[in-house]
């Protein structure tokens, strides 16, 4: 999630009549396109900024994104149980702010490294899910007829497949790894997106401006690229944010079941090893608690951002 740049002089009011005077001098189509994007972005940002929930989510997310970047750069030496010499199951202290696990590895280091994997899995899996979902939804909605019927029956099938069972089967075939987790999440979470996109496409397809473009001689590609996609994109994006949250939760669940990559740390993986290491019975709350809290926070952040985006996209919600 990149925060859009704040452009001074942007008009925060969508219905505002004001146009910066400098625009009168803008001439070439490229400049026009750029000016338009800048204006759209600043309008969007001004609206987004008004949402307290959205801003809170953005701040939490920025924090974890920074942690993940730090994790990429930081050394991973502290994670190898054979190399660490820390005390076992130590409670939090100044040396180990979040204590250590049963091998004497710092929980804080694990949680920091885990942020990387959790976010990575969440993002990659949801990109995959969104791509499949959007493609299926657009083809079904735009082509209609037999395509629609077939794709939607397939989507219904996807909706009712027990993904956990599928995940276990896939993992046993491919072997537990990061790729497995990403594939399982990506391949099972798209049907919701597909349905959403399809319904949106169906309504856009009937709009008079699509008819106008057809009367101008535009073909299907033109229609999808210039009219359907731009009008469906906001819905896809808002939905994508929520899919990320679900993907991160799914990753946690799969890792907890031991289907994750045994050689990399994810928050779900930490919880799994804590559980197997009897953290609950031993009272090692610092081992099992922090990764859980991180998951809750990140999922919450994505959800809050999703809500804020939804409010901007659906003017009806904005009224409330």
């Amino acid at each position: 999630m990149q925060t859009p740049p704040i452009t001074p002089g942007g008009d925060p009011n969508l219905t505002g009549e004001r146009i910066p005077d400098s625009l009168a001098e803008v001439r070439s189509p490229r400049q026009i396109r750029r000016a338009r994007r800048r204006r759209a972005l600043s309008t969007f940002w001004a609206q987004y900024r008004k949402s307290k929930m959205g801003m809170a989510g953005l701040i939490i997310l920025a924090f974890f994104a920074a942690v993940a970047i730090f994790a990429v750069l930081a050394s991973k030496d502290g994670l190898d149980p054979t190399l660490v010499e820390g005390p076992r199951l130590a409670s939090p202290s100044t040396t180990y702010p979040l204590g250590t696990d049963s091998f004497g590895v710092s929980v804080l280091t694990q949680v920091i490294q885990g942020s990387k994997i959790s976010l990575l899995v969440g993002l990659v899996a949801s990109v995959m899910s969104i791509a499949i979902g959007a493609l299926v939804g657009i083809v079904a909605g735009y082509r209609g007829g037999t395509y629609d019927t077939l794709l939607m029956r397939f989507t219904d099938f996807g909706l009712v497949v027990p993904w956990l069972a599928l995940a276990i089967i896939l993992a046993s075939i491919i072997g537990p790894s990061l790729i497995t987790i990403i594939l399982v999440i990506g391949l099972t979470s798209w049907p919701g997106t597909a349905r959403l996109v399809r319904s949106q496409v169906l309504s856009v397809r009937e709009r008079p401006y699509v008819e106008r473009a057809r009367a101008l001689g535009g073909g299907n590609w033109h229609m999808i690229a210039h009219h359907v996609l731009p009008n469906v994109m906001p819905v896809i994006l808002a939905n994508a944010v929520l899919v990320v949250a679900i993907a991160i939760l799914s990753e946690t669940a799969l890792s907890f079941l031991g289907l994750g990559d045994p050689f990399s740390f994810s928050w779900g993986g930490i919880i799994e090893s804590a559980f197997n290491g009897h953290a609950t019975t031993l009272g090692a709350w610092w081992w099992i608690g922090p990764p859980g809290i991180c998951i809750v926070l990140v999922v919450l952040a994505f959800t809050m951002i999703g809500f804020a985006l939804d409010e901007i996209i659906n003017p009806k919600l904005r009224e409330r």
């Binding site: 969508l14 219905t15 009549e17 146009i19 625009l23 009168a24 803008v26 001439r27 070439s28 189509p29 026009i32 396109r33 000016a35 338009r36 204006r39 709009r207 008079p208 401006y209 008819e211 106008r212 473009a213 057809r214 009367a215 101008l216 001689g217 535009g218 073909g219 033109h222 210039h226 009219h227 731009p230 009008n231």
Partner: protein
């Protein structure tokens, strides 16, 4: 005046530029899977049922009628927006090719609802440039860049100074301005024909005249041919050279506007003229019954169940009642250029006008009623064919 491409050989004014021959469009009702297997075809709505029409270069032709008469469907078929069951559309004498793109540069459409016709996420510039981009035109014939072509189109459509509009969004403009944008979007491709579907009916009354004025001026300046679809005969009177009146998917009368609107030869045209609101107009005869239902086209003359000539007994007097009830008929040329599809005019020629006026007067306020219906409604009480778009 410059155009994006050099134009081909020009047709002489008055030559047929666009021709519709025996056009049929049917809307099929949805049939459930089981019903379909049992051979149930569902209700078929014959929205356009044999339309023949020649549009002459440089003229303004109005197609008028009630909703459901097939006028909009005809316009959409001309634009290739409506799959056609049968019939031929010719442009400059040649049937439309499979690839409509070159044709759709020459023939442009202006729609009824300017708000819906403009993509809310596009700027005015992008909307106007869309046609150029679809047709891959990046320079005008004189080498003008795209933004100059867009500016020219905007200022021709009366949006000046054009660059003030480039970055605006449709919602920032008034209804009249939006319709000008739609017109500019059509003009940028230098069309020969503009098909306008109810171009002013969604606009405020005081703005309508201006948009019509603009169309008239463009016709004069750019030699445009305009087909205007309207339910408003007053509008036809102000702008049209010729008027075609449609009823239940057919043209029932066509001719010079003065002839059709002042001395109609078809009783339906007369009925339409009688309901144009004006002072004291409510004392004039009004056809009862709902708009006709294209899923149930009556045998014989399709207007006979509502026809004042039949109901008043005038048809019986003329000895044409059996024909009215049982014999379908096409257009006959009654006066030069003035065609009517009516047994009375076939029998009486131009004197049919007086006969129709007499018949209407004989009935008084309530003209013609569909036998076996409610005071107000189609025979079985279902709303009339809603699938037929107009």
């Amino acid at each position: 005046m410059s155009s994006p491409t050099p134009r081909g050989t020009k047709l002489a004014k008055g030559a047929t530029i666009l021709e519709v021959e025996d056009l049929h469009v049917t809307f099929k009702g949805r049939v459930g899977l089981l019903a379909g297997l049992r051979g149930n075809k569902g209700t078929q709505s014959r929205a356009v049922d044999g339309v023949n029409l020649q549009v002459r270069k440089g003229e303004v032709l109005a197609i008028a009628g009630e909703s459901g008469c097939g006028k909009t469907t005809t316009a959409r078929a001309i634009m290739g927006l409506q799959p056609v069951d049968a019939g031929t559309i010719r442009y400059e004498g040649k049937p439309l090719p499979r690839n409509l793109k070159p044709y759709l540069r020459k023939v442009q459409m202006v729609f009824q609802d300017p708000t819906g016709t403009l993509n809310p996420r596009q700027t005015i510039y992008e909307i106007i440039a869309e046609g150029l981009r679809i047709h891959g035109i990046d320079r005008g014939p004189g080498g003008e860049p795209e933004e100059q072509l867009v500016a020219q189109a905007l200022s021709r459509a009366g949006l000046r100074p054009p660059d003030r509009f480039f970055l605006r969004y449709p919602h920032e403009l008034s209804g009249g301005q939006r319709q000008r944008v739609v017109i500019a979007g059509a003009l940028v491709l230098e069309p020969e024909v503009i098909v306008a579907d109810e171009p002013v009916s969604n606009l405020d009354a005081s703005v309508r005249g201006e948009i019509l004025q603009l169309l008239m001026k463009l016709r004069a300046d750019l030699d445009l041919t305009i087909v205007i679809v309207t339910h408003d005969l007053g509008l036809a009177w102000t702008v049209a050279d010729r008027v075609a009146v449609m009823y239940l998917g057919r043209i029932v009368e066509i001719g010079p506007a003065e002839d059709v609107l002042l001395r109609p030869l078809h009783p339906y045209t007369k009925a339409l003229l009688d309901v144009v609101p004006e002072a004291g107009g409510l004392e004039r005869p009004i056809l009862t019954g709902e708009p006709p239902d294209p899923t149930k086209i009556p045998p014989g003359c399709r207007f006979h169940p509502r026809c004042p000539v039949v109901v008043s007994g005038k048809a019986a007097e003329l000895g044409i009642e059996a024909a009215c009830r049982g014999e379908d008929l096409g257009l006959d040329e009654i006066n030069p250029g003035h065609l009517s599809a009516c047994h009375a005019s076939r029998r009486l020629g131009a004197r049919a006008h007086e006969a129709i006026v007499e018949a209407v007067a004989a009935i008084g306020r309530e003209a013609g009623s569909d036998p076996g219906t409610d005071a107000d409604g189609s025979p079985d009480g279902t709303p009339p064919g809603s699938s037929a778009a107009t």
